[in-house]
């Protein structure tokens, strides 16, 4: 609802969510309103570009770290396998290894 038409004239408003309620701010009409609107548009464009860049960056780092995590998980599994084949067991993740009752 950025532009509101009243009696054939366009008025520019912006609404924000502030402290649990919607606050609507009036910016004017005509040339002033147009320039404010285009400034807001540019700002929104820049923000969405930044969000896209951030998401790409996060996906890139996450993908690289996923392979690292995979290697660490293999380590865990192999060490667990050694412990279990040596006759140890543990009741829950992270708890102490105890000798299994034979």
């Amino acid at each position: 609802m950025a532009w509101v038409s009243i009696n054939g004239t366009e008025y520019y408003y912006r609404s924000h969510w502030v402290d649990g309620t919607v606050k609507t701010q009036y910016y004017g009409k005509g040339l002033v309103a147009n320039s404010v609107a285009s400034a807001h548009e540019r700002l929104a464009d820049a923000l969405s570009k930044q969000v896209k860049i951030d998401h790409e960056y996060i996906a890139d780092v996450t993908n690289q770290l996923a392979l690292v995590t995979n290697s660490c998980d293999w380590n865990n599994s192999l060490v667990r396998a050694t412990a279990i084949s040596q006759g140890f067991m543990r009741h829950e993740r992270g708890s102490e290894w105890r000798r299994a009752q034979v």
Partner: protein
């Protein structure tokens, strides 16, 4: 971060490993005491003797990838981190030649330590970056810290377990000596998994 080549090598190495889900399934069953599962686990390890070597290679490449992710193209930083890693491995080995499982645990500590360093490095320009990135970096720091703590705990538990095993062996020697039976025979008959 230009570590595409090392990431590709890591992916290739991961592909050569046995089926992860099957391995984890056998592990879970063995830990739960399902009859025959421990034997299946031993068979699995015997059928895949190269697995230790493969995971060891995977670890080396993981360390290299993390070093490149931290240092970028800066060769000097890469070398200093590599030196720090070698020093850390030496310190963790505690003046003895670690067995394969212990080597893997040490690698895990090193990897998670490097992950912590990476998280600190990428979140160095906190304040100038966007909120989305800051939140991601904060999560990265917290999770890498958690993984580091759990890897140190796992190494500590492994050493405690080794002490436990050594104590058990001493007891078997004492019992065998008392009963005047051959130690190897008692070990093979009562504790075959230690042999």
């Amino acid at each position: 971060m230009s570590s595409d080549a090392s990431v590709a090598t890591l992916a290739q190495l991961s592909d050569t490993l046995p089926d992860r889900d099957h391995f984890d399934n056998v592990l879970a069953q063995a830990n739960d005491g399902v009859p025959g599962a421990v034997e299946s686990l031993r068979e699995f390890l015997e059928e895949h003797p190269q697995i230790w070597q493969q995971v060891g290679d995977l670890n080396r490449h993981t360390v290299m990838t993390l070093v490149r992710m931290i240092a970028g193209e800066n060769v000097l930083t890469q070398q200093s981190i590599t030196k720090a890693v070698a020093q850390l491995v030496d310190d963790l080995a505690d003046n003895h030649e670690p067995v394969m499982a212990e080597k893997l645990l040490i690698s895990r500590v090193v990897c998670s330590w490097l992950e912590c360093q990476l998280a600190i490095t990428v979140s160095a320009n906190l304040g100038t970056e966007s909120l989305v990135r800051s939140r991601f970096h904060l999560k990265l720091r917290e999770s890498s810290q958690r993984r580091f703590e759990s890897s140190v705990l796992a190494l500590q538990q492994f050493r405690r377990r080794e002490v436990d095993l050594a104590r058990l062996k001493c007891r078997v020697i004492r019992d065998a000596h008392k009963a005047q039976i051959d130690y190897e025979t008692v070990l093979a008959s009562e504790y075959p998994w230690i042999c």
